[in-house]
Symmetry: C2
Subunit: 173 residues, 2 copies
């Protein structure tokens, strides 16, 4: 099961920090990469690469392709497209339909084209209240992987945290 | 069990969007309110109040008290203080110690005072990789409430979403 995040509607500068949170959340919670629709963002790519060098793993970010093309290609290859939106069906109901499939998980910034609702295989709500695409993605991935994603090892980095009750313990590799 | 979020290190303007995501995530995933340490932020309060008027519930935001004072008062009243940090102990291990207690859940912006690690009852990691305080809070609350939080009703708002497979269905109350 491959899981890739598709970030829609990213505006350079204005959305940079939030999109960085989306990318790092995707990485830490088990997605293999993130596609930034329509454009590239060199600063975002730099930050994510730097995190990978420091902390390991093989998470990637790419950008610059129109979102419809990404969605259509994913479906052509047999994967499913899931759009996270407060208007969608409850996560609990949809999750059983997703397991075992390759998933492209679309998360919007403030405005998402209406067409996304049509092209997605499933519109999924992490609660039907307004909150945050970062939070929605986090809960979605945690439920999808059943918590296993937090125990994964990220290999090849320069350092690793040694979990502790107090303070910051880091091992340099 | 009361759950209140304590937002540390918020800088006006620079952190406004992320802190808004923290607040709305806290609200949507079952916390009763959020305390913004040290300062108030009128714009943030306005946004959260507006969301409450539209979508219901009784979530509150307050600000302006020093974080140590908030932490000490919470503990004096018998509650526990949980600090979410990538350096902490795994969520799985700590969760059983938390259920049934009133929880103050501290989440930082970029820099958190070292003293927070000492004053917290538990330093808890939602994975030991860098990601997002919004994501960490979301997974923490979802695990704490076991998914029940997404089924809560928010009463007294002006509208409500009717979950659907396609499009946006909203009922005006």
């Amino acid at each position: 099961m491959r899981v890739v995040v598709l970030r829609l509607g990213h505006r350079p500068f204005r959305d940079q920090r939030l999109t960085t949170h989306v990318a790092l959340t995707a990485r830490a919670l088990g997605a293999e990469g993130m596609i930034l629709a329509e454009r590239r963002d060199a600063e975002l790519e730099r930050v994510v690469e730097e995190v990978g060098r420091e902390w390991g793993g093989s998470f990637w970010v790419e950008g610059g392709r129109p979102w419809r093309e990404v969605v259509e290609e994913w479906r052509k290859k047999g994967g499913k497209v899931v759009h996270l939106t407060m208007y969608g069906r409850p996560l609990d109901e949809v999750l059983p339909l997703l397991r075992g499939h390759d998933l492209l998980v679309a998360v919007g910034a403030e405005k998402v084209p209406g067409e996304m609702f049509e092209l997605a295989d499933h519109n999924v709500a992490v609660g039907n209240q307004p909150h945050s695409e970062v939070a929605a993605l986090a809960v979605f991935l945690d439920r999808l992987f059943g918590g296993e994603e937090l125990r994964r090892e990220f290999r090849g980095g320069r350092k690793r945290i040694l979990p502790s009750e107090r303070g910051k313990r880091v091992e340099f590799l």
